[in-house]
Subunit: 189 residues, 2 copies
């Protein structure tokens, strides 16, 4: 019975395109509707509103990130897996700067689905860190440290904060290398 023009996936994909090309603040129902050759009230047949759309984008982003991280560690363990995951993380933020932005920023309400998508990523990190045999508390500290580094680095890079001439890629390698070294030191202490 429906008209076959739009569907929610097409809407989300287009919104992600706008976000990645022009930034998250450029994602409005007006620009989105224009890009989809439709009037903005028509979007309400598929989404509840702008806030709801951003929630959908966030969920999409979290799931895509999880998939990329999972793929990156396939067949790898310990340091190799950790390196791969770290690189996959920043690769994602570079490929999808706008999507990453909306994925990170806290929505007004976090429902179960959104929480699970976030928890799944944390669980994957736990899975990789299991190889290091840290006790529970230290593992949590380590996860928080890793997430801080990954998110902080990505966020600062996107906002153009790393302006100096030294190669940014080298810096990231250096930072992750030292972080991993630190885990090993703790382990044998």
């Amino acid at each position: 019975m429906p008209r076959v023009g739009l569907d929610i996936n097409k809407i989300i994909e287009t919104a992600v395109e706008i976000a990645d090309q022009e930034g998250i603040e450029a994602v409005t129902l007006a620009t989105l509707a224009r890009k989809l050759s439709v009037k903005s009230p028509s979007l309400f047949n598929h989404i509840k509103g702008l806030a709801s759309l951003k929630r959908e984008m966030s969920l999409y982003g979290l799931r895509l990130l999880l998939e990329k991280l999972k793929n990156s560690i396939e067949g790898k363990q310990q340091d190799e897996a950790l390196y791969a995951m770290a690189y996959a993380y920043v690769a994602f933020t570079r490929e999808h700067p706008g999507l990453y932005e909306v994925t990170i920023q806290a929505p007004e309400v976090i429902d179960g689905e959104l929480k699970k998508a976030g928890d799944d990523i944390v669980e994957l990190i736990i899975y990789v860190l299991k190889d290091y045999n840290l006790d529970y508390e230290k593992m949590i500290h380590t996860i928080r440290g890793l997430r801080s580094i990954l998110h902080g680095f990505s966020s600062l890079e996107q906002s153009g904060a790393f302006a100096l001439s030294v190669n940014v890629e080298e810096s990231f390698k250096y930072i992750i290398k030292n972080f991993i070294k630190a885990i090993h030191r703790v382990d044998r202490k």
Copy 2:
């Protein structure tokens, strides 16, 4: 000749209050004007517009952060100074969550004044790291690592990402401690 009601400092202070209490997205000329018991066009006698106001807030935030960091390291060196600075940084983001948000997010144009305020903070970090006698490249890597940790941790904490039961303060101490240890290892290698 002017009426003595408003001035630009009062406007910025009030905008910062709104940002810290309700988030940066709640800072609109409308809410700001209401809180100042004035009509929103009146604000244009003091500021050029909303974008300009956010630039002023960002500059204010950077300068305030610099001051807090400077005060924190007074009379301290090396590890002690680094610890103090790290704690002062997160203390600032907790005291001024909204101001920190607008301070970090990149404005559309970065003028000289804004750039200098950011550079001053980086210079202060360089000043503290000088004690470790790192070569230039490693120092830049280290600065980027430290900034990533500080910003990443603050940002994730603010967005409620550290939900597990383990004490967040302990995690931060652990992260900074290991970061500092890593600097020492590089130093003597």
